[in-house]
Symmetry: C2
Subunit: 259 residues, 2 copies
Amino acid sequence: MSKNKKPLILVVNDDGITAPGIKALIEVAEKIGEVVVVAPDSPQSGMGHAITLGKPLRLKENKLFEPIKAYECSGTPVDCVKIAVDKVLKRKPDLCISGVNHGSNSSINVIYSGTMSAAVEAALEGIPSIGFSLLDFSWEADFSHAKEYIEKIITQVLINGLAEDTLLNVNIPAKTEESLKGMKICRQAYAKWQEEFDERKDPHGRPYYWLTGKFVNKDKGEDTDEYALANNFVSVVPVKFDLTAHQGINHINQHWDFD
Amino acid sequence: MSKNKKPLILVVNDDGITAPGIKALIEVAEKIGEVVVVAPDSPQSGMGHAITLGKPLRLKENKLFEPIKAYECSGTPVDCVKIAVDKVLKRKPDLCISGVNHGSNSSINVIYSGTMSAAVEAALEGIPSIGFSLLDFSWEADFSHAKEYIEKIITQVLINGLAEDTLLNVNIPAKTEESLKGMKICRQAYAKWQEEFDERKDPHGRPYYWLTGKFVNKDKGEDTDEYALANNFVSVVPVKFDLTAHQGINHINQHWDFD
């Protein structure tokens, strides 16, 4: 990042360009740098790392945050990052921030989350990148207590950079009467969703199924994001996109009979 | 797995239930175990770990592979695994196999791939799980040379199990006149897609964009999946779903100013 110029910050999300969460993130980012927004034109929660292959994308300027340049895209959160880099931005941004998501992306949610997948895609492009999420699903969620932490974390990343091929997954407890206690750098808790499909019949008597589930966390570690959040800390998990289970390589070479 | 019973094998994919690749996988699996198929009713390539949140799913029996029980689902590959576990299967399967994908899922493709995300979802459920892909995109791809390796790998996994929270990403070179040279246990090559959107105008003069790209591999390691495949080996990468960059935790604790 040049010392004389404001940092260029790409803002994306998965709840769509009209979500209050992205507005909160832009309000913090515009104090720090030059902001460009490229966000989905409709909600894209749970889209994971999906990309659009079978149909073309639309990209349209949106005046919502003027004088900040903003574009809405018909694709997924990952598509938004790709088209921002290739078609919208004149140079590689100094930072990509994604969110603020309405709802938690802690633990295994990182893998289903469009917010986090957009941040992962930016990291793949070599852009320092952070996903932010608030533990409140509602459209009317209060982001006011989160802004101080978002600003601190962005500032630290711009000053110190991030370890190579690493991005951050930041989750922020919902606002309560108690103030946030600070930040904890954590690992992803080992937890999962146990699905419980809700089976119904349509007016023609044919079944259909709503995906619902229960979040099950058997990981009692005090170094996890779930533990930090339960204790009213902001959780910061460094995330990578090399999915290789490196120890697994030896395990297989030792145990398998190749012939 | 009970010693007296055939193993129960869940077969899924992302190219859809009518794809030749899933037929090839079923033909191998039915020699080894009791097979149940739950696959998307339409192509779902590039869907990553997307799940369906905003609308319900349909699930319908399909007679395509009789007497093997098969179901088509209106959701994503990950939805297929979830609904199979919750609504279709009477017990937890001994193995989930996904594919055979028409096209490579080596290197960073693991993150965009519906085939691999379905396998990851099964692993999350505690089911030993393997994704298979052939380096040939065409619908008429020849899977005949792949079957011997698919059978070997399934057999090794059923005998030896897999390291905890680990699944396999198996890629198989396209058929050529040269025979495959064997299998290599590898790490994910550090490579990425460099996007090049193809901008066009619709009949009303408005722009639209097709996502295209160039696969860029600067990783010259001889222990990677790309290296194995380029040398006509089947690549086997152990994959995990803990995305924590564990070394990154220290990096941040050392460098950040929290106050």
